[in-house]
Amino acid sequence: MDKLIADLKEQIIAQLNLQHIKPEDIGDDQPLFVEGLGLDSIDALELIVLLQQQYNIKLNNADDGPKVFRSVKTMAEYITQHQATGK
């Protein structure tokens, strides 16, 4: 899980052009939106693209978005769960 979280931080920075942020600046549980990293709705779409490109995971239910993209840790948990079940 730690490796996955570290990879995700690097991928989020690259995908979202957050060049002013270093991976260590992003807390595992830090909210990604609003008061946390301050991501916006376009970033949310880029995170969906990231999941699909890097992990071949499609977010089929948009209502899952806020829960899945709450933090890097919740993203990692979702990926792990998805890969384990193969869904």
């Binding site: 957050l18 970033d43 779409l45 693209v49």
Partner: protein, 207 residues
């Protein structure tokens, strides 16, 4: 009615000037997007959204930032009285091409939102709080006579009291930003806002 150039800024050939003075220069071999980020860092600006912008918006945003620094324009005019009139040759083609490339695998939402040339104006307006008239024209070349006449008409029709106008163009590594801050004749700092004067300033950036 006489209008004057209160300030001007040019970004070309990896060099940034304001009112004729050089503020930043980078090696000519550095790609434009790296050059703009280097300049942003050198000026110690703090606007994280800058990194997410496409090349055209980075160029226009940075030029406006340099142009308007210390001009206190939003203190001297209400937000609705400041117009923004830009022009360029290549529209948003640089980003259109990049976006088209991503559609071959997975379309990038972050690129898609920059596939209009007037997005750069939105970025500048958001940064400075401008709510006045705005327009962007696509021309084959810098049209000093048109720009001068258009801004003159805006002021004479009382549609604005000050105007940021000029040229912001970028395609691959070819780029040029030449912006002017135009006000009624109360400063005369940088000369009259005439087609000849703005043409000379624009051409000086290519020297």
């Amino acid at each position: 009615m006489r209008l004057d150039i209160s300030a001007w800024c040019t970004i070309a050939n990896n060099r940034i000037q304001k009112n004729g003075g050089e503020l930043f220069r980078d090696d000519a071999s550095i790609p434009v997007t790296d050059f703009l980020v280097n300049a942003y860092k050198s000026f110690q600006l703090d606007y994280p959204k800058f990194y997410k912008m496409d090349g055209l918006s980075k160029l226009g945003w940075l030029a406006a930032e340099v142009l308007l620094k210390l001009e206190n324009i939003t203190e001297r005019y209400s937000q609705g009285d400041i117009a923004l009139v830009l022009s360029n040759r290549n529209s948003s083609l640089d980003t259109d091409i990049r976006y088209f490339e991503t559609t071959k695998s997975m379309a990038s939402p972050a690129l898609f939102v920059y596939t209009l040339p007037n997005i750069v104006m939105g970025e500048i307006c958001i940064r400075h709080g401008f709510k006045g008239e705005n327009a962007l024209f696509v021309f084959e070349k810098f049209e000093s006579a048109f720009l001068s006449r258009y801004v003159q008409n805006l002021v004479e029709a009382n549609d604005c009291k000050a105007c940021v106008c000029g040229w912001v163009d970028l395609l691959a590594n070819n780029y040029n930003a030449t912006l002017f801050l135009i006000e009624k004749s109360n400063t005369e700092k940088m000369g009259e806002f005439s087609p000849e004067n703005i043409q000379n300033i624009y051409e000086s950036t290519n020297g």
